[in-house]
Amino acid sequence: MAHAEPAFKLKIANLSLFVLYVNTTDMAQLKNQLDTRVNKTHNFFSNTPVALDLSAIANSNISPDFADLMSFMLDHGMHATGVIGGSTEQREAAVQSGLGLFPDTIVKPTVKTAPIPTTAPSITPNAEKNNAPELPEFGLTIETNNSNVLDSDTQRQNPVSQVPPTFRPTMIINKPVRTGQRIYAEGSNLVVLGVVNAGAELIADGDIHIYAPLRGRAIAGAQGNENARIFVHSLEAELISVAGCFKVFENGIPENLRGKPVQVHLNGSDLIIQPLLS
């Protein structure tokens, strides 16, 4: 045979992932609530990879029936891929059921402790200047996620607050984002000038601005920046999320927000959607 092309390439990709936080070992209760929240007919999840975070039940000596939970989740369009945290027994049981193991603890980027350089360019047109939230830490978390295969875990544990923030220019998309398309502004803000249709997905590590209807999903602060915000010209979204806190609109968007210009931000763990008053 002639000289073969490399048949594969192995890389660490920095994908955003849904995490299901398991707060109880009572699987009946969990399934029951999941059933109510994730309406099967709505097709919100469709073979979507989801990680199970077991930290809240790590002290229990009960291991959930993962096989059963996985098939229940699959039934709701969620494809359980692996577990985060949990006791040794629980992690063992997860592996037995064919789940993978994520590193024990996901270290959130320590955004809050990072010094804000006074010279930092104000690229975030935040509405409330007097009470300006800290700038998103461009590049901070990226540093820890370079495509370095083996030591990515250990690097993640390092305090990243000493790394001086680097500047990544805003990503600007000036055409429609359509069903099936996904845009990721890695380490930066994202500005979209065209319509974002149902089934399209925007992800940014910083803020997201959409000067058109948002009908798909928008995920800001994808690496955990809790100060990230979303600004939308016309809210018609399927999902919005800031730093992992998300909201789906199964029963439609409330009248006072639907089709309106809004901003979205986090207050603690509450996702706040506010009409933008001009």
């Binding site: 359509r178 319509v195 089934g199």
Partner: protein, 271 residues
């Protein structure tokens, strides 16, 4: 300069082949040397709608494999002098339709044709991709229902990101929205999306609206493209589409509202 035009949709059964047949016939009637290619390998039916199925000897895959020349495979249309059909194979394996082979054929066709119309198969897999890859312009065929609009949206995304024009960084593929099987009565009753609803989602220029009509089935049974029908809304609508494509100005968008039985309104050409 010759143009490659793909007729595509994502969703199946929305009227791509019906449109390819009438659109290519209309282009030929307007004096363009035109060829229409069936990319639906395994499910060919363009030849049925063009009424030339009995004259199919060779097909596009014979040409790609170098078994026959293009000239041998092209079939001359029975209604229009300027029109040729390149049929799909009914039996061969879909993978035989590779990008290099298709590019070679298109380049050869460009030497003698003004317009090359590609009838895409449904779906977003390799067949549909091959049909759209080399396109300069696209007719995105959409029915007034949510699933069809969604699929068109997806196809538009692929055209914008993965077509040869996109990959090579050339001017983007020129997109045209063609709404077919439009039934104003059902739209007014709220059972189907309106032209405005569809445009609001897809946001590309509208090239025409083809009404729902039984005459389409009759035409296809007769092996005559609908554009040749006498006194038919569908034929007129397709002629308008060809006109707009050719740059005719001031053609009103017809057949989008429920026909009022007013003789004068019709006389004045209003809606």
């Amino acid at each position: 300069m010759s143009k490659v035009i793909v007729v595509t949709s994502g969703k199946g059964g929305v009227g791509k082949t019906t449109t390819s047949a009438s659109f290519s016939s209309g282009l030929a009637l307007r004096g363009n040397k035109t060829v229409v290619i069936d990319f639906d390998v395994g499910l060919r039916n363009l030849d049925l709608i063009m009424g030339c199925e009995r004259r199919v000897v060779y097909d596009i895959i014979n040409v790609i494999n170098g078994e026959v020349t293009l000239k041998q495979a092209l079939i001359k249309d029975k209604n229009c002098d300027n029109l040729y059909i390149l049929p799909a194979s009914q039996t061969r394996d879909k993978d035989a339709l590779n990008l290099e082979g298709v590019e070679r054929i298109l380049n050869e066709l460009k030497e003698s044709f003004d317009c090359i119309v590609c009838d895409s198969p449904a779906g977003i897999e390799s067949g549909a991709f091959t049909a759209m890859y080399f396109a300069d312009e696209a007719l995105v065929v959409t029915n007034p229902e949510v699933s069809s609009v969604r699929d068109s949206d997806r196809i538009l995304g692929i055209l914008a990101a993965k077509s040869k024009r996109a990959v090579d960084g050339l001017d983007p593929v020129k997109e045209h929205l063609l709404i077919t099987r439009y039934d104003p009565k059902r739209v007014e009753a709220g059972e189907m999306l309106s032209v405005t609803d569809i445009q609001e989602i897809l946001r590309i220029p509208l090239i025409g609206v083809i009404p729902e009509s039984e005459s389409v089935l009759q035409a296809s049974n007769a092996g005559t493209p609908a554009i040749h029908l006498d006194k038919s809304d569908v034929a007129e609508a397709y002629r308008d589409v060809v006109g707009r494509f050719m740059g005719d100005e001031g053609l009103p968008m017809r057949f989008v509202t429920v026909e009022k039985k007013s003789f004068f309104k019709r006389l004045l050409g209003g809606r």
